[in-house]
């Protein structure tokens, strides 16, 4: 299957390791991975901050870049939700680019969806001998309704001990520009999330969105907790040979 990787602008710039992990994981599972170089950003930050025109431009750009692929995989619940759930409302039916949106948007999958729903695997043959807790980010939980897909994948990772995160479904407080527009509330939410993470005794906090992890991880680091953040893709890409 020919798959296009939509890396997302945040991962591209700040978390290239996640992209490399997706590439090696998908290849291990027999996919041919392509990275359309013209890709940039889904436009979520602009739309959600109130800059719809810029967002629409980026949405049109996205659909042009990814037209023609069987599937587009994004290692971000939030960006996948943006394309699949928001684009059809953003680029109104009948307006320029609407047909392209209608064609491309349904083919965009968050990584765990792609693995379980399209490739039909829930054991990717990974090995990661660590205590891990998983935070279901809001857009993967309530936007994409990923349900237990990510944790099913994690449970099948050899050596991995998955510990439940209390109040897992509560927002971490990132919220894109919310983190800088409402820093006090954002930090208070982040502090509660961090307290819950520390309570699990996990060595690693995992999620399907690096932007939320950047916020929680930034707090974990500032507090010198020693807990690492890792994207789901990086854990799933880890194998015994690579350890």
């Amino acid at each position: 299957m020919r798959v296009a990787l939509f890396i997302t602008c945040v991962n591209d710039t700040l978390f290239p390791g996640t992209g490399k992990a997706v590439v090696s994981l998908l290849r291990r599972l027999g996919c041919e991975v392509d990275f359309p170089a013209a890709q940039t950003c889904c436009g979520q930050m602009h739309v959600n901050t109130g800059y719809r025109d810029e967002g629409v431009r980026l949405a049109r750009h996205f659909t042009e870049v990814f037209a023609g692929y069987d599937a587009v995989v994004a290692p971000s619940g939030s960006c996948a939700a943006m394309v699949r759930e928001q684009y059809p409302k953003l680029v109104r039916p009948g307006s320029r680019g609407a047909t392209a949106v209608a064609e491309v948007a349904p083919k965009v999958h968050e990584l765990s969806e792609f693995l379980i729903d399209v490739l039909k695997v829930d054991d990717v043959g990974a090995y990661f001998p660590h205590r891990v807790t998983y935070h279901p980010t809001c857009h993967s939980l309530r936007g994409l309704h990923l349900g237990d897909r990510p944790t099913r994948l994690l449970q099948n990772v050899r050596g991995l001990e998955l510990v439940e995160l209390p109040a897992a479904q509560e927002c971490c407080g990132f919220g894109g520009t919310f983190a800088v527009k409402n820093p006090a509330v954002s930090a208070a939410m982040g502090a509660d999330k961090v307290r819950n993470v520390l309570g699990t005794g996990a060595e690693v906090l995992c999620a399907a969105d690096n932007s939320c992890l950047m916020h929680i991880g930034g707090t974990l680091n500032r507090q010198r907790t020693g807990v690492r953040i890792m994207h789901l893709a990086e854990i799933l890409a880890a194998t015994e040979e690579a350890q």
């Binding site: 602008c9 800059y51 407080g173 919310f178 006090a184």
Partner: protein
Amino acid sequence: MSSTFLGMPGSFPKNAAKAVQNSQLRYNLRKATHTIRGKRANVVGELPDWQELRAAGKAIKDETLRHLDRYLVQMEEAVTRAGGHVHWARDADEANRIVGELIKATGETEVVKVKSMATQEIGLNEALAAQGVTAYETDLAELIVQLGDDFPSHILVPAIHRNRAEIREIFLDKMEKVPEGLTDEPRALAEAARLHLRERFLKSKVAISGANFMVAETGTLVVLESEGNGRMCLTLPETLISVVGIEKLLPAWRDLEVFLQLLPRSSTGERMNPYTSMWTGSVEGQDFHLVLLDNGRTDVLADEVGRQALRCIRCSACLNVCPVYERAGGHAYGSVYPGPIGAILTPQLRGMSSELDASLPYASSLCGACFEACPVAIDIPEVLVDLRAKVRHKPAERAGMRVAGWILNDQVRLAKAQRLATRFRKLVPKRLPGPLSAWTDTRDLPDIPEESFRDWWERNERA
């Protein structure tokens, strides 16, 4: 909206920053919202057809709004036929004037009130005070707010920010007759409220209420409550004046079969609230007046995306599940409508010209918990984002977002910017200046990698 809130200074982020520092407030809110979340989840989980009820509730409200003109006229006819009087009020002033005149006609100077969001929204108590009429709130939480000279901070439980010990203090301080040895047991506090209001209920001649629903087909008004203060006000006085927002209509009697399941379970987390009163026109010899209130609702109705806010049945489930509300508290929203619904309703009703109102659409991380909990499926995040596109943005932000949009719209520009960041990665300070310090005050920045993903791909894969 309530004059007590009008012209409130500040902005949501500033108000919230103050509230977050108040550990007592945070403790009270956390405890209360977590209690109610658990109860709601239980009673909602009990109904196998919750999603079907929710879909029906949403559609019934949409139908109401689609033909609101027809249902309003139908309601007016039905109430009039049943011996009631119907008045129409374009805005707060007009509604307050109508109510004031109706009271004056009775010769009374004191009235009792059942908790009502609409009358809070129009600042009725303050307007009546200016006309020499004292309005006594009778709902326990409203009483706590009124006695404490405080602002409401929740739709359903206006004194949610107060715990039992604080309530006891307010009672000891402000009630004329407090039972001897009053403890902070909720039961004892409720008893004190009973004694405080009993006389007043029994002698009041005029009452003012709102309504949860109005049924156009039959002209019936419906009030849900817990304490019995509602029944006291609706039943005993000779004159009853109900001020109701025009969106509170339901087309048909049978529609109540949906909402009487949705509302109690969503709001207090009960299978049914203790008391629900329904009446049609003038009953048992009572003089009944219905004031139909617009006050900005028709403007909201004109907005294709925003109009779904008018489906709201004021259950407050969205407040109770909101992580932002839980930490910021209700006062930070500077409106009688706090929480997620307030963040979309207040800017639509009042406009977004003040700093506070312009900041409300941003008072959310867009986590979507409100949408999931809402019994009439109001897509609050969708409306928030839509309102954000209508706010006048600060020039510096606008310029920054334009540049970001320009860079992000082209892979060459993006790659250049990434390489620039990479080149100077060691120079990024731990604490950023300006507005970005909001990030680094509590969080470390991630390390900027040596090369972006696209450069890595280019180097390793293109060849």
